[in-house]
Symmetry: C2
Subunit: 156 residues, 2 copies
DNA sequence: TTTTGTAGTCAATCAAGTTGACTATATTGC
DNA sequence: GCAATATAGTCAACTTGATTGACTACAAAA
């Protein structure tokens, strides 16, 4: 533990552990040829799975405007990861769904995250990893009670 | 634990716990009249303390370019939180130091973070908080061995 | 069936970063 | 000791990912 790390407070620890994880994830996605997938897209994919989602749903999920979502979808559609389908019952709306290529990215992402988590387990032990997740889940849950979804935007 | 939270993976947990912390911090700083302090500034202040820092040092610490640092310093200097002083030995350089008002923000920030951490301790217990910090410190340390400072940019 | 609300897009703007070019000063090498 | 090279900081132009505002097409409520 050198000097840089001794004075890290809780905010810095959470931020740095998150960046560490997400940097490795996207370095490795890049090497697999998914360099056009940016950190911001991961959480969007999660909401699209498994049955698609409307732009408004994605906007709420991500905590950004529908216009910003529309631009992200433009980008991902152009790159071939998602497509806009006409909404079955609402002619105003569209549903954004994953293409086959989109599913490949999601699968690659899951595998890499599992691998990183496995490596982290070797560092701290399985029980501590289990506890880490439980503790963070509880904190996120309790600390946001009442203020849900609007403030809960994962920025990465 | 409602449905939103059941499927959060490690990346989401780290991201959301960090956002939760940082959102409350800046909401409260805002209410104290420090609405012009943005999340990005916190980590910069930490490097300026206690004896000031040059632009290059801040750039390396934050993982952004010196030009970006220069702009941030413009902003913070205009708002009265820091000043540029001539460097004692290098006439090319300047040292950025906190003003009295800058110290007030730092103090307020520390107090609020301590309070939030205290509240979190009431939720999960002191031992678990202790362990949370130990585990995250170890992960950040081990997972970044060799790749230091360049990749370690806390984005908030 | 008229009025009001909602989903999505287009356009202009903003904020925070980038790259490139420049000035002034330091450092190095012959 | 001086010429060549490197470094700290700033200015300007551009990029990216968001925002707000205006609009169209359709849906839901009065």
């Amino acid at each position: 533990m050198n000097q840089v790390f001794n004075e890290l407070d809780l905010a810095a620890l959470l931020s740095l552990s998150f960046s560490t994880l997400i940097n490795e994830l996207h370095d490795r996605l890049s090497k697999l040829g998914y360099g056009d997938i940016k950190p911001a897209h991961g959480f969007m994919f999660k909401r699209i799975i498994p049955n698609g989602a409307t732009g408004m749903e994605l906007a709420e999920h991500l905590g950004i405007t529908k216009q910003a979502v529309s631009k992200m979808v433009d980008y991902l559609e152009k790159s071939g990861y998602v497509i806009r389908q006409t909404h079955p019952t609402d002619k105003r709306g569209k549903i954004i769904v994953l293409t086959e290529q989109g599913w490949l990215v999601v699968k690659a992402k899951e595998e890499i995250l599992t691998e990183i988590e496995q490596r982290w387990i070797e560092i701290i032990g399985a029980e501590r990893m289990q506890m880490l997740k439980e503790v963070l889940t509880k904190l996120v849950y309790v600390a946001n009670e009442g203020t849900l979804s609007s403030r809960l935007r994962p920025v990465w």
